[in-house]
Every structure is written in structure tokens, then in C-alpha cells.
């Protein structure tokens, strides 16, 4: 995303709606409501995670979930198909740049910083990075058509299975 476009102004209302959609996303995964997480995406929604190193290289993905069935599968893993326990996660989202696109879609770049606390354990900085999202208004709700997270971490923490 380049510098904010002057020709397509972002209204205060749009900025506020998108921010609320992102904050709701963070809260949904932090509260471990993974079935609800699936519902935040469109039917053909895509969720992906990559490291910055691979983004600058050939583009190897860590996670590439395409469509509702793939998202449901990940939710099932998070709900207990992984034996690795979920940590108490805290996702903070900031620096939210909203850019309207054609067809009622908006693309959004935001910063992501996530902390993880193990059960009776330390709190760790889990990751930081950017999210490039495409949201679309469907049935009065802003849904994610695309959420592409790129983490800056050169060395990932153990149990990087948490949703981002």
C-alpha cells in the first residue's frame, strides 16, 4: 500500500467501522471463540501467515487457508485437535490505514503485536508484523475476504499455532 490516496478520502465513519471490525477480530481470537472466527470471513475468505524473510524471497507460506472449509479445519485444530494448549493471547492492532477500493471493498494495512502467556507461565512477545486485509460489507457486517499476516520474526517462537 502506498501513501494514503487523496482522491478517495476515508470518511470518519468508514475508518471507525473498519477499526471496530479489526478490534472485534482481535477480541474474537483472544477470547478463543474460534467458531466465531470462521464467521468473520466471507465464504471464499483467505487467511494466510508468512514470515517477512520469505515474503522478500520466493513467498513460502506458513499458513494458507482458502475458503470456509479450510478456516473451519483450522478452528477445529485450535479447539483441541492440536494437543498443544492455547496460550492466553493478547493481540494489539494499530496504525490502521484504510483505503477504499472498487466494488465496495476496502483494503486495510495494520500493525499487529501479539503477546502470549502460558498457563501459569511467563508472558512473551509472540510476534509482530503487518496484516494486509481486504474487507467487504455483507449483510450489514464487514467481513474479511482476505487476511494476510506477515510476521517480522526471523526465529519463530514454539507453538506458533495461535491464530493471528
Amino acid at each position: 500500500m502506498s501513501a494514503p490516496s487523496a482522491s478517495r478520502p476515508v470518511t470518519f465513519e468508514l475508518q471507525q467501522q473498519i477499526e471496530r471490525a479489526l478490534f472485534n477480530y482481535a477480541r474474537t481470537i483472544d477470547e478463543q471463540r474460534f467458531r466465531d472466527w470462521v464467521e468473520l470471513f466471507t465464504e471464499d475468505g483467505v487467511y494466510s501467515v508468512m514470515t517477512q524473510e520469505n515474503q522478500q524471497d520466493q513467498g513460502l507460506y506458513l499458513v494458507m487457508d482458502e475458503g470456509r472449509e479450510a478456516l473451519k479445519e483450522r478452528a477445529a485444530y485450535a479447539l483441541g485437535f492440536w494437543q498443544a494448549p492455547r496460550g492466553k493471547m493478547l493481540h494489539t492492532i494499530s496504525n490502521i490505514d484504510v483505503e477504499p477500493r472498487s466494488g465496495g471493498e476496502v483494503s486495510v494495512r495494520s500493525y499487529l503485536v501479539a503477546y502470549r502467556t502460558e498457563a501459569a507461565g511467563d508472558t512473551q512477545l509472540h510476534c509482530c508484523g503487518t496484516a494486509d486485509d481486504v474487507l467487504v460489507l455483507q449483510g450489514g457486517r464487514w467481513l474479511f475476504k482476505r487476511r494476510a499476516v506477515v510476521v517480522d520474526n526471523g526465529i519463530l517462537p514454539p507453538n506458533f499455532t495461535e491464530l493471528l
Partner: protein, 404 residues
């Protein structure tokens, strides 16, 4: 030797593992000297170093090493340290440069590690001799397109070191290209990950994915000792995908349909190596897994950071000349189960964390690796010939046996 590990004559010490080897700092330091300094350690693929000046960096044990292609087209390896005041000459993972110039005082070394430039050399006097400050070389050799380095190899030839692992490396690694690397840290001893890689007893328990897929299946496969210190496991794909789909659906409380998930729509891969998965472990820190159906081939190499912390470096591989749609498929999905974000490896990390905690209980000093009683070098899938092969090698290098 410095280590107070004295195996009893009456115990087969490749079947009984003294748990101190997973956390004792003195044993760890001895491993750095006796295993990491004296083994061949995987560094990367030769085709990552095509042009003169191409280089990559790695660690052997905890020691920093540069591997570079010199101007004559030869591979060179030397320590990643300035002979003047120790600064690492580069902190890049990979790159290209005509020479290595230290950022600290500007000393410059060529692609063979020889000192070629010193700013204001007069102050060192007339007897100053640049050759005295060349960086000590590291042994470097290539096999099947894989580059290995060694500091003081106990087995001088890489081919001899690889032994019975050679034919398998030739089969699965030849013609591969690196698609990307992923590194992650786990809070456990380096041997635990290598053991886990060579352990085909755990998957159906640690990984619900595998457990669900194997339910009701008469699981087959083989587990091999490869000399010296290596191992391989070969097994057919017997996971029942409908059972996995049903198990996931039950957890979610909704039907999940794999047919609508592009992850399960494999493109026709151009090369195939028969009807078995292969998991190859090469002493001491190299692992390769070939996923049947060409979903992906991966290499993992371990970098210890102390007795209780390890970095896993994963290389996702493709095969040279494969169609663009296959390459795109691999980039998007081939490590879906791998890395600390993976549907399978994510649980391995948890198992390692628990083992590293458990080995502290002194009243239970021994871990067991005795599955498979038949003599010889081959057993069934869930046997532990491959693990015992690793520990035979471990004892040879640590001084409880004879080096080959």
C-alpha cells in the same frame, strides 16, 4: 574424558538413555567438542551458491561459519570471525559479495578467507605478515547437491561419514531447490528433535491427525538402522482421510468438507519415488522427510543454543524444472503440517517442552528406547532401530565406543 557417564557392562546403552544427556551443561559442552566439531554438519544446497561471491552462513554447534563460492568456482568454508578482534564478518543468512570487509576496523578477507587488506598497516611494524591472520579454513564437501561442513572431522571423507545414508540422500535430495526457510526455537535439548524425527511410535498419539487417520488400520512400515549413526523409516500412506475429516468435524461440531479445501486437491507432481513416505535421519543434526505424493520434501537441521534450547531450521524444497503450478502449490501449502505453526509439528514442540521438563526428575534417571527385539538392523514402523543407531553414533563420538 570430562563426562562422568559410565555405562554399565550389563546394560545396552543404546536402549537405555541416561537422561542427564538432555540437560547437563558439562555433557553439552563435551558434545560441542566431540560431536559438533568432529561431524559433518549440513549447511545448505550447492545450488544456493551458484555465482562467485555467493555465500551463506550457518553455525556448527555454536561456532559461526561462512560457506562461499570463490572466483574459481570452488566452495570455500571458514569461520565467520575477523582474525583481528573477532567481529562476525557478515550477519546475513545469504548474499553475494566480492570480499568480506569487517565493519569494525575495515580488515578485508577474500572468498577463501585470506586476509587481503588492513587499513594503516605500518603501525604493526615491518614483520607484520598478512598470512598470519588468514581465517582458519573449515572442511567443506558436497553430496547429492547438499553442502556439509566440518571443523575437525573424525571421518575425513563426507561420503564415508554418510555411509548407508548416501543412497537415500541421492534419491530424495538430488535435483532439489530451496523454496524458503523457516526457523523456530523450542525449549529443549537438540537431541530431542532429532529423536522425535526418527521416532515412528509417537505420531498416532501426539498428532490427533495421524491417530484419527490410523484408527482401525493395520499399520505397516519399516524402521532401519543405517551405519553409522543414521536411520530411515519407510511407510505407506495408510491414513484414512474420511476418518480425519470426521474427527475434525466432531471437534468443531460442524461438518467439514475436505473436497472444498484446495489443500487436499493435489496437482499432478512430475516426479514420484514410489509408494512410501520416507523419513531420513543423518547423524547428528540433519533430517529429511519425503511426503508421499510429492506434497513436499523438507530438510531440517538443528542448531543448539545450550543444553535446553534449540533452533530448528527448516528448508522447504521443490524439484528443479517442475511446472509453475506445482511450484505455486508447494509455496502455498507444502509446509502446512510443519514448523512451529504446523498442524503436526506444533504438537511436537509441545512434546519436546514436556520431555525437557520431565528429565529433571532425578528418581527416574533412564529413558527407554528398546522397541524391536529382533537382532539385525530392520524392524517394524513403531520400532526404534533408527533411534538406537543415533545413540550408537552418539556413544562412539562421546567416547564410550570406537569411532568408525
Amino acid at each position: 574424558m570430562a563426562v562422568a557417564l559410565k555405562p554399565s557392562e550389563s546394560v545396552d546403552w543404546s536402549r537405555k538413555i541416561d537422561r542427564r544427556i538432555y540437560h547437563d551443561p558439562e555433557i553439552y559442552r563435551t558434545e560441542l567438542d566431540r560431536i559438533f566439531r568432529r561431524s559433518w554438519i549440513f549447511a545448505g544446497l550447492a545450488n544456493e551458491l551458484k555465482q562467485p561471491g555467493d555465500f551463506l552462513t550457518t553455525t556448527v554447534g555454536e561456532e559461526p561459519v561462512i560457506v562461499a563460492r570463490d572466483n574459481k568456482g570452488q566452495l570455500q568454508a571458514f569461520y565467520n570471525t575477523c582474525t583481528h578482534r573477532a567481529a562476525m564478518l557478515t550477519c546475513e543468512q545469504r548474499g553475494n559479495c566480492p570480499a568480506f570487509r569487517c565493519i569494525y576496523h575495515g580488515w578485508t578477507f577474500n572468498l577463501e578467507g585470506r586476509l587481503t587488506g588492513v587499513p594503516y598497516p605500518d603501525a604493526y611494524g615491518e614483520d607484520f605478515c598478512k598470512e598470519d591472520f588468514d581465517i582458519p579454513p573449515v572442511y567443506v564437501e558436497e553430496f547429492a547437491g547438499l553442502v556439509f561442513v566440518a571443523l575437525e572431522p573424525a571421518v575425513p571423507s563426507l561420503a564415508d561419514f554418510l555411509g548407508e545414508a548416501k543412497e537415500h540422500l541421492e534419491k530424495y535430495a538430488s535435483g532439489t531447490e530451496v523454496l524458503g526457510r523457516v526457523r523456530w526455537r523450542y525449549p529443549g535439548n537438540w537431541k530431542l528433535w532429532h529423536e522425535n524425527f526418527g521416532d515412528n511410535y509417537h505420531p498416532e498419539f501426539v498428532h490427533k491427525f495421524v491417530g484419527a487417520g490410523y484408527k482401525g488400520v493395520d499399520v505397516t512400515g519399516s524402521n532401519h538402522q543405517l551405519d553409522d549413526g543414521h536411520g530411515i523409516m519407510l511407510f505407506p500412506s495408510q491414513r484414512q482421510m474420511p476418518q480425519i475429516q470426521a474427527a475434525l468435524s466432531e471437534v468443531l461440531g460442524q461438518e467439514i468438507d475436505f473436497k472444498k479445501n484446495p489443500l487436499y486437491a493435489l496437482p499432478p507432481f512430475p516426479v514420484d519415488f514410489g509408494d512410501k513416505h520416507a523419513i531420513l535421519t543423518v547423524f547428528p543434526t540433519f533430517d529429511l522427510q519425503y511426503f508421499l505424493g510429492r506434497i513436499g520434501t523438507i530438510i531440517q537441521v538443528l542448531h543448539p543454543e545450550g543444553p535446553s534450547s534449540t533452533i530448528v531450521e527448516l528448508l522447504a524444497l521443490g524439484y528443479a524444472g517442475e511446472p509453475p503450478e506445482v511450484r505455486q502449490w508447494r509455496l502455498a501449502r507444502s509446509v502446512d503440517t510443519q514448523t512451529s505453526a504446523g498442524k503436526i509439528s506444533g504438537d511436537d514442540d509441545e512434546a519436546m517442552r514436556r520431555v525437557q521438563g520431565g528429565v529433571r526428575a532425578r528418581a527416574v534417571p533412564i529413558s527407554d528406547m528398546s522397541r524391536g527385539q529382533a537382532p539385525g538392523k530392520v524392524g517394524e514402523k513403531r520400532d526404534e532401530y533408527s533411534l538406537r543407531s543415533f545413540y550408537r553414533g552418539w556413544h562412539m563420538y562421546m567416547g564410550d565406543g570406537t569411532l568408525p
